[in-house]
Amino acid sequence: MVDIRSRNLKVKVAQQWENFGMLFILVLILAIFSSLDPNFRTVYNFISIFKYSTFIAIGGIGMAFCIMSGDFDISVGSMLAFVGVLGSSFIPFIGGVGAVLSTIVIASILGFINGIFITKLRIPAFITTLGMLYIFRALAYLYTSNVPVYIENKFWLYIGNGKIFNINFPIILMLICYLGGYLLLRKSPFGRYIVAVGTNPDASRLSGINVDKVRIIVFTLVGFFVGISSVVVSANLGSANPGQLGQGYEFQVITAVVLGGTILGGGNGSLGGLFVAALIITALKNGLSLMQVDSYWQDVATGLVLIFAVALNRIRYTLLGQRE
């Protein structure tokens, strides 16, 4: 009897953790850094954490869909760089608005190509996108001859730096993206299909879902959100550097999605968790660099966070008894 009660307690903890665990960690991190460093606990710094978290948070939406549907895309960092240099180079010809739109469209097309490779040839996603990771990066270098593209277009820069009612535009953009992502995932049939395919592809197929189509659209969506992120990130930096843009981005984004509670291997996930996780990662980096911790330690820390997050999800799932 005691046995069962302690198990129930564990399950309850696991369930509450699912809802509030990440929020708890965020508050903990904010509290620790705030008490350690006066520069951290300023309104300005909090806003900037919020702003920088959008880099990860926006790209994370597509990745969340991708991981929920049971796949992976590790080409996003290079894709971000490639579409960034390509799109920003269009500015002189088609203007800022056109360039921004074409960046997003090109990224979506690249995602679509990934999807076609993966579904039609039945190659595992991780290895296809691994190849694409290097191809996109090489194309970014080759297209620019390794010379950064400086961005002076006002519209483009506004997307990364502008303000509406004193709120940073990236934050507004992120909120719009989340609203869209939420509606798609929770209120549209397609969202159901994403989760269904990730949970049980065989059952999905027998239920008449076009599994390949769902996966292709998911990869296209990954590209779409990477396109938006690319504009935001490059606008913030004021330039698109083929070597540096999006370096390690896939890593941060996957970490955020997994830390946010989405299970590797597919199934239901959480966009809210992703958003909080993006804040956690950004706050961690911000805090560590304010305290002048070596940037190499930051890499080590993010790596550990990722492994920790995956292991944590495993344990939580085992406790809830949903998987063996």
């Binding site: 490779f117 290895i127 691994l130 290097y134 390690g248 890499d299 790596g303």
Partner: protein, 320 residues
Amino acid sequence: MIKFLKLYERFGIFIFIILGSIFLAIASPNFLQTNTILNIIAQGTYGAIVGFGMTFAITSGGFDLSVAAVMGLTSVFLSLLIPVLGIPLAIIISLLVASSVGLVNGLIITKLNVNPLITTLAMMTIIRGVSLLVAGGRQIVISEKMFSIIGTGFLAGIPIPIIIMVVLFIFMFFTMYHSPFGRHVSAVGSNESAARISGLNVDLIKIMVFVLVAFTAGVAGVIRTSQTLIGIPTMSPGFELVAITVTILGGTSLAGGRGNIWGTLFAAIFISMIYYGLNLLNVQIFFQMLSVGTVLIIALFIDGARNRYLESVRAKGIKV
């Protein structure tokens, strides 16, 4: 057609090598000289050596993205240890450090049940961070000139890296096809649950595979460091792609169970031929990255098309 496909799986890489050779022979008058050929093979040694390890990983159904980072770690340790401990001991300890990364990979994958891709992706970042921390963010020059003999010396007219590669090849070949361990690796990759039920210690086998991969990465790190005489914490970025590409191009099935050590060896030489050809064209270095990525996608394309074809044949009731 089916016969052709079966042959392709075993010998497909030779088609690439022959076509590549013909092309290079036409394009470059120097190509058919012994020196050039030895040089190309020598350039292929890292890819082959790490590819051997990767072949084991993929045969077991796993995957390792941390190999380039391990090379960097080895390089840093060598550069720091050689002045203190002398060359032989420094090499041994560096290789042990490299192998221990594999041990950590294996433990995380088997005991924490984390997907190999994510584990090694995270470890790639962690190990690179650690290398930079240990090296203090710098490159460290090795003043012991004797050390360069490993990477640049000759034995009986043959570059020492090639000799190391051949020795490792023989070792890996026997391990893969004729040792119980190698067969158990195949078993795990072929049908993990059956291997478990047959009483194999699947976790231990997987851990040993990751130690082996990290060890090969360490060996490649030693050779590379010896050639440059610099300890480089960020050595060979993107090298994991080369290792994976040579393995898959060599005919090792991504599905696991069937490793092709021969294929890996020749695929590494083929990639080296591409590099040589690109040098002839005098194009930007980024073309190397592009070409390896493209070769990987092509190799996957062939693999995928083959599987689809076999599937359709099976549905027609023809035995494959």
